[in-house]
């Protein structure tokens, strides 16, 4: 049974081999026979009826994830969806390799590979840089179900502040709620490729919380494997339950209790009355005395009180 607190997780824990570049930095993963990544099990697709389906594929240097991303894109394209790809890491020709013309016609490649930072100044770069390109994807208005693929989230995370990226991704996946007349069939699926070793636990956790499905790739002994984590969409409660009902102790004050509480002066509170009392010791206030009884060994000499010291 899966032990990480999530249903639909297909992981079977097994020992993982050392990562190629340096000591173990990734999660421990499961053992599945390595199959060419052209078919994808249906559990990774978004649950029908959910407001958005977003999935992230986490890979490492030794076990690359772009082929998985392409397989998910192929699946979306075969379902009739249009796919917009924000390509930062590979060229368009390289990305389109392996897809037949039927699928390629449904792919729109937004090229951030050739000149992402506008160094060539030829005017070919996407205007506004990576952030504007990402926001432009949010604003696109063509109808029908659509899949947006980000290759890669790591590149965006290295070039944009994490908070900006998370907010933009949130807008991207909540897009259909902005259109007033969206039908239930119009969904926006967001797929992202993330290179795990490049980021700390903070940004990784933030991006994880945005993804409904996470596929982590690893392997052992030459066989690749995928760990799939699917979060069931939360049912948002219509009203907040009041936590102060049904308690075994009393949290309320009666009127008399409240008055007594308000009139209480705290012992260490310095009020003006206390200040006056200290400055002017009045009648009836006992002053302090010291009573001293010298014993036989004390030599009281007022002239030289230290006479008994042997110095």
């Amino acid at each position: 049974m899966p032990s990480d607190g999530c249903s639909n997780s297909l992981a079977v824990k097994a020992a993982a081999g050392a990562q190629f570049l340096g000591p173990n930095r990734g999660p421990r993963l499961s053992k599945n026979p390595r199959a060419p990544l052209t078919e994808v099990p249906t559990t990774t697709s978004a649950h029908p009826g959910s407001p958005c389906g977003s999935a992230s594929a986490k890979d490492s240097v030794e076990w690359e994830g772009r082929s998985l991303l392409k397989a998910l894109i192929k699946k979306s394209a075969l379902c009739g969806e249009q796919v917009h790809i924000l390509g930062c890491e590979v060229s368009e020709e390289e990305f389109r390799e392996g897809f037949d013309s039927n699928i390629n016609s449904r792919l729109v490649y937004h090229d951030l590979f050739r000149d992402p930072l506008n160094w060539s100044k030829t005017g070919e770069a996407l205007p506004g840089g990576p952030l504007e390109a990402l926001r432009a994807l949010c604003r696109r208005t063509d109808p029908g179900p659509v899949t947006i693929a980000l290759d890669s989230l790591s590149w965006l995370l290295l070039h944009l502040p994490c908070t900006t990226l998370c907010q933009t991704l949130h807008t991207l996946s909540r897009q259909d709620s902005c259109h007033g007349d969206s039908s239930p069939g119009e969904q926006v699926h967001v797929l992202g490729l993330l290179h795990e070793e490049l980021h700390g636990p903070g940004p990784l956790g933030a991006l994880s919380s945005l993804a409904q499905t996470e596929v982590t790739l690893s392997g052992a002994l030459g066989q690749a494997s995928a760990h799939i984590l699917y979060r069931r969409p939360q049912q948002r409660p219509s009203h907040q339950m009041d936590p102060t009902t049904h308690l075994t102790f009393n949290l309320r004050l009666s009127k008399k209790e409240r008055e007594a509480k308000d009139s209480l002066t705290l012992p260490f509170q310095f009020s003006s009355e206390k200040q006056q009392a200290l400055l002017c010791p009045g009648l009836g206030q006992p002053t302090s005395h010291i009573f001293y009884e010298p014993d036989a060994y004390d030599d009281l000499d007022q002239e030289d009180p230290d006479d008994d010291l042997d110095v």
Binding site: F20, E64, R66, S91, L117, H195, G222
Partner: protein, 266 residues
């Protein structure tokens, strides 16, 4: 070049794969023998080479190159080799007017700038000549090494961007190759270096990692070389993805053998 390494990588100077990024890294040992290998390999393969040499002087590489059968002086004179000698030209940055761009301009900037001037130098050095006939086989960029740029104040993302642009221009547009060396800090907690190493690892087609032996120094086995092929264009090819060999560096050659099969041991 080392013929045994060519055999392991399945290449010869006559059949050079194009459009590839090769990452060289070393951990607890000196991986510069790989740089010398690729320098002499690509010069023998009749490629135009731009060598950004930040670590050693020209004469150092020339002396080693002569042992491996190439003359860097001749290559530079006939235009096959464009050599940026970092140690010498770094001083020039401070003694020339600021308006003239210098490839190592980032040394002069207070905040960690970007490496666009260095990229433009590479672009200028390797761009195909307008004359119809190509004199050289393909352009090659060789960098020794990228880790020193981090020590000089450049951020890891800036170095990754530089390699990204080199890849887009040299590998993709001009069908050339890029080879770069990065040191692995190993146990030392160097986050910037780790980001650089892993980021480049994801962009690479071939990774050669020279490691010291886990058991320490040895007279007959100098280290271990791990080879990883990535991003092959045929995903279904049943090619060995990762190989490991041990090696011994000699005066003019490096011999490779399977683990535990050193001639001294057998």
């Amino acid at each position: 070049m080392f013929p045994e390494l060519n055999n392991l990588l399945n290449t010869t100077p006559d059949q050079v794969e194009q459009g590839k990024l090769t990452l060289l890294c070393d951990a607890k040992t000196d991986g510069s023998f790989l740089v010398h290998h690729f320098l002499s390999f690509y010069l023998k393969a009749n490629c135009k080479v731009c060598f950004v040499a930040l670590i050693q002087s020209f004469s150092h590489y020339n002396i080693v190159g002569q042992k491996l059968g190439v003359s860097l002086t001749t290559a530079r004179e006939c235009g096959q080799l464009v050599f940026l000698e970092g140690l010498k030209s770094a001083v020039d940055v401070f003694f020339r007017p600021q308006e003239e761009p210098h490839p190592l301009q980032f040394l002069r900037e207070a905040n960690s700038g970007n490496l666009q001037p260095l990229y433009e130098f590479v672009q200028e050095a390797l761009k195909p000549m307008d004359s119809g006939e190509a004199a050289w086989r393909c352009p090659v960029l060789l960098v020794d090494d990228l880790s020193v740029l981090l020590s000089l104040g450049v951020g890891a993302v800036a170095v990754l961007d530089f390699v990204h642009y080199c890849r887009a221009t040299v590998c993709r547009e001009w069908k050339g190759n890029v080879v770069a060396l990065v040191h692995d800090s190993g146990d030392a907690e160097d986050e910037e270096n780790d980001i650089l190493l892993n980021g480049l690892g994801h962009q690479s087609h071939l990774i050669l990692r020279a490691e010291g032996l886990a058991t320490g120094f040895c007279k007959d086995v100098h280290g271990q070389l791990r080879i990883l092929w990535r991003r092959s264009s045929q995903p279904t090819a049943q090619r060995d993805r990762s190989l490991t060999y041990q090696y011994k560096i000699q005066d003019k050659n490096v011999s490779f053998f399977a683990k535990g099969m050193s001639p001294a041991v057998l």
